[in-house]
Subunit: 273 residues, 2 copies
């Protein structure tokens, strides 16, 4: 009997349609407060591009603008190759949903742009340094029974619960892994870039209404780095720079084995209060 | 006799065409090594969106993917409103050029996504701190006669020339202003986000072939902050996190008067060697 698919693979599963379109569904397993977790939407958009037979190279940059809430049920992703060069490709992807099954009216729920490129053996250097944290096995898995479903799809381990001890600044460090464990690939790396709790929760020590407006991922891992990482937990760090007029930013880093920086990520988030 | 327009206004000047399209030109005044300065391309794309009568709200997020070199001469920008919500709008813009005037073949040279939003008087706080630097008047304007034209459109002042004293890390701090002075607006702020020299030049102490692949700008200034800034020089800081396999990232901050963080920016840059 074949093993049941990993919830992540089920969530990003897509059916190819004509003309570069794909059919998928909003994943209940990765549900957040009022729609699916933004990381899974990001992973679906990337997966659609990875499935295009014309695609060459690895993901270098991915930006997702969240245009509106993703509803339960079916969704469609339309992909377009905007330009293909010798070593880079530029793609766009749009996620749409039919809001009323009785009509043809559809809404754009997310728009994305991606660059794929060929990595080469050139002079390389990591200027950033990984944060320090207690060993993974020494820390308990974060568990909030009332937290949204998607949090149960991750194994997150903090030295200090970000909610119980709001620090003077919003920086936090944690271990991050898919739960159950799953070998790292580009969609999973993209999804994990959204796993950092909104910094305003930490800074203010309470939950306030928020919604990510735009998420940016720079991939620094090649296939060999992903294979070396496997299902080993990643080390994540995130911090905010400014909360201003209803929008705050946050930047994050995802570190792998051997002090390898796998991805850097930025997002700007709408907030109230 | 009316004063000649500022080179920046001339560079971002656009003529409205039907169906949300605009005609412009690649600016010789902002020329870089093999095409216009990426900041001016970014400003043109933003300006097209700002000119759309349906646009409401201020820029919150702008991402530009540079798909190919912009050639001399005419260009076209096609804008599309993807979704309009109560307090946010999602737009896309594509810059195209007809590569051969004798045919209809056109190439996409840049694709962009932007979010516009309404800022509100809510709890606000700046967690980042501005870097320190000697007073603007105490520093000489950077001058390299052989540098590309666009550098002469800026007044950049460093405490330490980033090229003559390559530091152990790639961080640098400088004063940034349009030259001649020009009151700050969103296109100028977006353009200035690309003014930081490629970090690999600083880190390696030499020029190597580079090209920005994707540029991301988060705007934190409202109209009042822009007006308060006027033509006062901004304080900029930038640093790289990783150079890996032919792509490096860099992040930057643009600070205004009264320790106001006006914009944060990220880019990923292709490099060779």
């Amino acid at each position: 009997m074949p093993a049941a698919p990993h919830p992540f693979d089920e969530a990003i599963g897509l059916e190819a349609l004509p003309d570069g379109a794909f059919a998928g569904h909003a994943s209940p397993a990765y549900w957040n407060m009022v729609g699916p977790y933004g990381g899974i939407t990001t992973a679906q958009l990337l997966q659609a591009l990875l499935l295009r037979p014309e695609r060459h190279g690895d993901p270098v940059s991915l930006t997702v603008n969240f245009a509106g809430p993703v509803a339960e049920g079916r969704l469609q992703i339309r992909t377009q190759l905007m330009r293909s060069n010798r070593s880079t490709q530029h793609w766009t992807a749009t996620m749409v949903q039919t809001q009323d099954s009785g009509s043809d009216s559809e809404s754009v729920v997310a728009v994305a742009m991606a660059v794929f490129g060929t990595r080469r053996p050139v002079w390389s250097h990591t200027e950033a340094r990984p944060p320090s944290i207690a060993p993974h096995d020494a820390l308990p898995r974060l568990s909030h029974p009332q937290a949204p479903a998607f949090t149960r799809r991750y194994d997150l381990r903090f030295e200090r619960s970000p909610f119980e001890h709001p620090p003077a600044d919003s920086s936090s460090t944690c271990w991050i892994a898919d739960h159950p464990p799953r070998p790292l690939d580009y969609p999973a790396l993209a999804s994990a870039c959204d796993v950092f709790f909104p910094r305003i929760f930490l800074r203010r020590g309470k939950l306030v209404p928020v919604g990510t407006v735009s998420l940016n991922v720079y991939f620094h891992a090649d296939a060999a780095a992903l294979a070396e990482q496997g299902a080993t937990p990643m080390l994540g760090a995130a911090q905010c720079q400014i909360y201003e007029g209803g929008y705050f930013d946050q930047h994050g880093e995802l570190w792998g084995r051997s002090q390898r920086l796998l991805a850097t990520t930025h997002q700007i988030v709408w907030y109230r209060e």
